[in-house]
Amino acid sequence: MTTLFYDHLIIIKDLDKKIKKYTSSNDEMQELWFYVEELIHHRVLDCCLGNLPQKHHHEFLEMFHNHPHDTGLLGYLNEKIGKDVEKLIKAEMKKLSNELK
């Protein structure tokens, strides 16, 4: 699934429980969710762009901007990077998850 091409790779267990514990209103909770969202998107894109040769950056950004939900982007990245980008993103998310514990 799909609102973003990497959605299925960014499940961070237990963080939501922690956020709920530390917030007393829905607005406050959504503010923290927003920070986490920002963190995730920057870290995932850093992971993709850091491994993708710079000559492909513009092409990738165009595709990402027009079709951010398209899981075909994973195939594109795999091909251009020559590594399993899903594994790279999962590892980055695990790292982030540990940092937020």
């Binding site: 699934m1 973003l4 922690k18 969710w33 986490v36 920002e38 398209d70 940092e99």
Partner: protein
């Protein structure tokens, strides 16, 4: 003490978010420039994507396969023919078995937002089998997905001073520490009506916060979604519930798209049901005649496929 812990955690997240953003902008100035020119904020990426999806009315692999969208909407004759064919396959089946078998054929193998033609067929089939007029889009409103994972939620405080002991018989999930997105259900215990009790008992959570137009269309959308009736169907066992939307969430990073009250989850999948694939459609009920709670379209309910 608790307040300090709250504020420390909030500060940690905020600081980390700012640091990461600055680091990204410094490391990739050309990317930062590109996003600025396009007017794209990464914090609002999900809303940007939702807007594109709703404009294209579809999902899937656009780069690798041709889009299917409004041009492929089935005609009413096609829908009726498809549903009749499904119904005739096994002769006279129990409605719930018929629903389960139909869903197996009609739903994609992986949970994802559905195309409009897929939703149209499902709406017709659900109405045919359960008699509930369920719609993926109602009065022009549509969630980012109508097919996703639902997760177990806690009870919500209905009025100031409400406690878990008032929410029997399901105590295990506990009471949410904060309030739902629409605050208390009533100002006091004395103001709590039977309808409001039912709204909390059979409540659903949907991701209004990720709607592309949520901020721009206030207060209309907040009022439109408050206690809006939805039909939730467990796609594995066919159990179905009509619920009222009473909170916003869950966060995308949980891997879930909807939430259900302890009562909703118990009915959908039994006592150990914490997460599972469901369809969630609005109920078209302008006369307010459809009650919240289990949809008893079959005398036998099937708990065999409960997902743990």
């Amino acid at each position: 003490m608790q307040k300090t812990a709250n504020s420390n955690f909030r500060d940690l997240l905020k600081l980390k978010s700012i640091e990461t953003k600055l680091h990204f902008e410094k490391k990739y100035p050309h990317v930062h420039k590109y996003f600025l020119e396009k007017g794209l904020e990464l914090g609002k990426l999900r809303q940007h994507s939702a807007k594109l999806i709703s404009a294209g009315a579809l999902t899937g692999t656009l780069l690798l396969s041709p889009p299917t969208g409004a041009g492929q909407l089935p005609t009413s004759t096609e829908i009726v023919r498809d549903i009749s064919e499904l119904g005739n396959k096994e002769g006279h089946e129990l409605p719930q078995k018929e629903l389960i078998e139909s869903l197996k054929v009609m739903l994609p193998s992986e949970v994802r937002p559905l195309a409009r033609d897929e939703e149209k067929r499902l709406e017709q089939m659900i109405k045919d089998v359960t008699s509930i007029p369920a719609k993926a889009a109602l009065e022009g409103e549509h969630l980012n997905t109508s097919y996703g994972y639902i997760g177990a939620e806690q009870h919500l405080k209905r009025y100031p001073g409400d406690i878990l002991e008032n929410h029997g018989p399901y105590y295990k999930e506990g009471m949410a520490p904060g309030l739902g997105a629409w605050g208390y259900f009533s100002r006091s215990k004395a103001d709590l009506t039977l309808n409001l009790i039912e709204n909390e008992k059979w409540y659903a959570v949907v991701q209004t916060l990720y709607l592309s137009d949520w901020s721009e269309r206030q207060p209309y959308l907040k009022n439109w979604y408050k206690y809006r009736k939805v039909m939730i169907v467990n796609t594995k066992n066919g159990n179905a519930v009509v619920a009222a939307i009473a909170d916003s969430g869950p966060a995308a990073f949980t891997g879930k798209h909807f939430g259900g009250s302890p009562e909703v989850m118990e009915y959908l999948g039994g006592a150990r049901y914490k997460k599972g694939a469901v369809l969630l459609f609005f109920v078209d009920d302008p006369e307010n005649t459809i009650k919240l709670g289990p949809v008893k379209y079959n005398k036998i309910n099937n708990y065999d496929h409960t997902i743990l």
